[in-house]
Structure formats: C-alpha cells, structure tokens
C-alpha cells in the first residue's frame, strides 16, 4: 500500500463519524469491552441497554434464542444480564449495535450474507477458543464479529471500487481480499484497521482486523489473529462465506496460523479437526435464525 492510498483511506474513514446511524451506546460499550477489569458493571450495562429501545428489544430477542440456552425468556434486561453473564451480554449488545452502525443503502455485499459471515465467525472463534482451553471466549467472539468491519467501510466510502472487487471475486470464484487487492490496491484489512484505530478499539482487536489475512504481520496478538484467520477460513468452507463459491482448497493444518496457534496451545496437536468441523456445522446452523433476530428488521 502506498502512502497516498493510506492517506486516502484515513481521510475517508474520518467521515464515517458523520454518519447518523451509530447508536449512542456503541462507543461506551466498546470502551467497557476493551477494559480488562472485571469489576461489576451490571448496572451500567443495564443503563446503556435501556437507553436505546431498539437495542434493548434486540438484546432480549437474542438472549431468548435457543442459542444462548436460557431456560426461560428473560423478562427484563437485568434478568438477561444476570442469566447470561456480563461478558456475554456485552458481546450480544455489540452484535446488535453493529447492525445499526451502518446504513444499509450502499451495500456492495448482501448485508445478510455479511452478518451471517461475521456472526458465524464470532461463534466459531468462541468455540475454537473453548476447544483450546483459552480463557476468554468472549474476546474471541468479539474479534470474530469485528474482523471484517473493513467491508463496511468499503461499502460506505469506496462503494464503486468495492462493488467492482465483489463482482470480480464472484466472477472468478477467488477470495474477496485478493479481488480487493487487484482491483483497489488495498483491502478491507487496511480500511478496517483505520476505522478500528479511529474507534480506539483494543490493540489486539485492531491487530485482528488489520492482519487476519496476513497473520505473520501481526505484532500485538498473533494468537488471536491466527484464531480468527482459521475461523474465517472455516466459515468460508462451511456455508458462511460471502455468498459465492470460492474455488479453493483450504489446508488449515499447513497454514502458518495453525503453527502460530500450536505454539501457544498444545491442545491443537491432538485435535480432531474433522469432528470439530462437523460440530461447527451444528453451531453454524443456528446463525441464520440469530441473524434474523438481530438484523431482520434493519435489513429487510
């Protein structure tokens, strides 16, 4: 990427701020999620959620979906927070907020396809992280959810160029980031990275957004970046890609991300990847329902 392109990206990303649809609770929520302290913030989360009716309703809808396994539908936000645990509620909220963060008019991608991929990746990241015995599944969830946020930037501020890239990717059956690179000269990793920095997301999440297609460039959180990279690939070969057939074979175990993850988690050595893939299909089947619950009204 040349300096000129980098400057253009930065300049255009600045304008995202002026877009009307970012829910007011989004930024404070991100800030809370970014902080690592575990002090009790239930009341503050409840206050934030109740601030926005649409988000409160979505949050309850998601919390009562079978995916989250509450025996009864929570009657109040507070009940949902207590039933699900704070971290999980925060990620549900983030999911809901993100659905409102961008206007849906200028999508170069089918927004439902995009959300299915993002939520699918978030779920796979959480499951993968649990499988590895890592302690912060919700962090992995958040990283998965946000990893492709650069596509939203591209839709908003590089819409014509991005549209051409999507057309090329679809026509040739190649990965979208390759088509972005050859059509636009940069990818959603750069634009997403710029937005993530502007939003002051946690360093490791910025790293995921910027490096999930080039894990070896990761400086801050190579483990998390690798996890998201592999989860992203898994989603794309298990029906939660970008809505077209990618003509590729994916050899996860030979991927450099696998090697990086293996250094941190020896559990990976004995992992039955085929069985894990089959198990993921179970989780993945829940995604369309979840996407409908969160984004149904917004993107209809």
């Amino acid at each position: 990427m040349t300096a000129t392109i980098a400057a253009t990206i930065r300049e255009r990303v600045q304008h995202i701020e002026t877009m009307p649809a970012i829910p007011a609770v989004f930024m404070p929520l991100l800030k809370m999620l970014g902080s690592s302290t575990e002090e009790v913030r239930v009341d503050e989360v409840v206050r934030l959620v109740s601030y926005d009716n649409t988000i409160a309703a979505q949050c309850l809808r998601v919390a009562s979906s079978p995916l989250y396994g509450l025996a009864e539908s929570p009657r109040s936000i507070k009940a949902a927070v207590i039933g699900l645990g704070l971290r999980r509620v925060e990620t549900i909220l983030l999911t809901c907020c993100l659905g409102q963060a961008f206007p849906t008019k200028k999508w170069g991608l089918d927004p439902l396809v995009f959300w299915k991929h993002s939520l699918g990746c978030a779920m796979v990241c959480r499951k993968f992280s649990e499988k590895l015995g890592a302690d912060d599944g919700e962090k992995a969830y958040m990283a998965g959810l946000l990893h492709d946020i650069g596509f939203m930037v591209n839709c908003q501020v590089f819409s014509n160029e991005f549209f051409r890239a999507v057309e090329r990717a679809r026509g040739q059956g190649i990965p979208l980031y390759e088509a972005e690179q050859s059509t636009m000269g940069f990818t959603h990793c750069e634009t997403g990275g710029a937005l993530a920095e502007k939003w002051k997301l946690a360093d490791d999440v910025v790293d995921v957004i910027a490096c999930h297609h080039a894990v070896e460039q990761s400086q801050t959180a190579p483990g998390l970046v690798s996890l998201v990279h592999l989860a992203d690939l898994l989603c794309r070969v298990r029906g939660l890609g970008y809505g077209y057939y990618e003509r590729q074979k994916v050899d996860l175990i030979s991927d450099s991300a696998w090697a990086i993850l293996l250094q941190q988690h020896q559990e990976l050595e004995g992992m039955d990847l085929v069985r894990f893939t089959f198990e993921l299909d179970e989780a993945v089947e829940e995604i369309p329902g979840l996407v409908a619950a969160v984004f149904g009204s917004a993107s209809a």
Binding site: K249, D251, I253, V274, T277, F278, E282
Partner: protein
C-alpha cells in the same frame, strides 16, 4: 461393499427433530464415531435415534439405555454395532448424493489436475469408485466428467474404475437401471441427457455414460490385488470403511495413498472422518466438504 436396499425409506420417525434427545443418544453418537468415523451432528441425532429405534424393536430393548447395553456390554455387541451402522447409512445411496463433493471435483480439483498435466502428451484421468455398491456414485461421476468433456477435459481419456466386494452389487451396477428413489437428487437436466426410460418408473444409464465406467469385484482387504490399482487421480470411498476395524482401515488407507498419483485426492462420505488413521494425507477443506490430498511432488509439503 454393502447391499443397500433401495426400498423407499420408511420414515418411522418416532422422534421429531424439534424434540429434546435422550442424552444416551449422544453417547451412542460418540461410540459410533469412535468405531466407524461416522458423525451424526446434533440436528441429525433424531436420525440416529430412529435407527436405534428400528434396532431396539427386534432386540426387545425398551429404552435407549438398554440398547446402549446391547452395543457395549452384551456378547453380540460387535454384530449389533454393525446392524446399527447399516440402519443409519441405509438410504444414503443415491445418484448425486453429495453436491459439495461434485462441486469440489469440477470447480477446484479438475482445473488443478488439468493445469498440472498440461505438459503431458497423453492426458489421462483415472478415478476409482471404491466400494461402489450398485453404481450410483460411479455413474454420477461419469456424467459430471462428461459435462466437462467439451471444456476442461477436451481431448482427455477418462476412466472410472468401480469396484465392490459384492458380486450381486456389481451386476446390478453394470445394468445401470435406477428407480425414483435412487434418482431423487438427480436433476431433470441430467435425467433427460443421460438416461433412457425403461418403463414408467425405471431409467437406464445411457451407453456413453457406461462407456466411461468399468465395474469389477474387488476385496479392499486383498493386499496383493490392491497393489495393482495404481495411477489413480482421485479415489472415492464413501461409507465403506466404517465397517472395518482400525487396523484394516489403516491398511486400506495406506493402499489408497500409495495408489494415488502425487497431487491426487481421496474422499470419504460426507459425514465420515479418517480420524487419526493416517498422517500422510493432508486434510483439505472445500466449500461444504472435506477431502484428503496427497501433496504434489515439489510442493514441499510431503
């Protein structure tokens, strides 16, 4: 390898997919996976439960827990597990059983193999349908390759070697006559193009499709014969190895690996896993399906 009855699957369905499943079925699922490599996902557990129900009746087992004993503690447990495997794979045999496998074949693998063989003078593609049963898979492959005959495979010699242990299956396969049930996933396009009606309910595969396939009896555990199956580009062996014990499975898989050309692919059934039985193959994901790859010479991945 197995005689798959082609009667219309009677949907006994005592358990609906929406009802909670007895946790014992998860134990049975894990046992089935350990022994056979067949994995029934959570949303398919009711199918496993149906299969168990059909076996419980003749055994007089009243609860899944009692049936679990038949599978694990009773002297006839090995035979019973086999019966159960038969139950849960019955009806899976039909033409066009796995579209994701066919997509991987035509959209990813054939272009790759064609590119690799571009410099060879005689362009030849050999596919082995191992444990071909009554020929559904073999003819499905043949039809799909014929579809590429004017493009990717123009000027190629294509051969599908189909083998099965069972003489009767081989004979049925050679006849190439199928009814509605076997053709339930076959599109009208393929039916019109590659089949001739025999009577109101039956269709026969056309000669140009048959020409591509040779059927033979072969025991996959016959080591000396397995040595002569060399030069394969792709091997399909779906729902066959599930009946083999671990050692025999490993042996057969070693033969498959040896018989494949470098850069060749091996496929199992769509819900079947090689587990940890072989570390020479590379596990590769294609959209919607999993395959095993024998790395190309010079790929540095051997």
């Amino acid at each position: 390898m197995t005689i798959v009855t082609q009667s219309v699957a009677a949907p006994l369905a005592p358990i609906k997919s929406s009802e909670p499943v007895d946790p014992v079925y998860r134990q049975i699922r894990d046992l089935v996976y350990q022994v056979s490599g067949i994995y029934k996902a959570e949303d398919k557990l009711y199918l496993l439960a149906d299969g168990c129900a059909r076996r419980m009746k003749p055994l007089g087992a009243c609860t899944p827990r009692e049936y679990w004993d038949h599978l694990t503690a009773q002297p006839n447990r090995e035979a019973e597990l086999r019966n159960l495997l038969n139950e849960i794979t019955t009806g899976e045999t039909c033409l066009f059983r796995s579209q994701p496998q066919l997509d991987a074949l035509r959209k990813v693998i054939l272009p790759e193999i064609a590119a690799e063989k571009t410099k060879q003078i005689t362009k030849r593609l050999r596919i082995w349908s191992a444990g071909c049963s009554t020929g559904e898979e073999s003819y499905t492959l043949a039809m799909n390759l014929l579809e590429e005959g004017e493009s990717l495979l123009k000027g190629w010699t294509v051969e599908i070697v189909a083998t099965d242990l069972n003489d009767r299956s081989v004979e049925t396969a050679k006849a190439g006559i199928y009814g509605d049930y076997a053709l339930r996933s076959t599109s009208d396009y393929f039916k019109r193009k590659y089949f001739t009606p025999v009577d109101e309910k039956k269709f026969q595969v056309r000669p140009e499709v048959k020409k591509l396939v040779t059927f033979n009896r072969l025991n996959l555990q016959d080591n000396s014969k397995m040595l002569f199956m060399k030069g394969m580009d792709i091997i399909f062996c779906c729902n066959v190895l599930i009946y083999f014990d671990g050692d025999s499975k490993s042996k057969v898989i070693k033969h498959f690996f040896a018989n494949l050309n470098f850069g060749g692919y091996f496929f199992l059934g769509t819900s079947e896993s090689l587990m940890k039985l072989n570390d020479q193959f590379h596990l590769v994901h294609f959209p919607g399906t999993i395959g095993y790859w024998k790395p190309s010479l010079g790929s540095g991945k051997l």
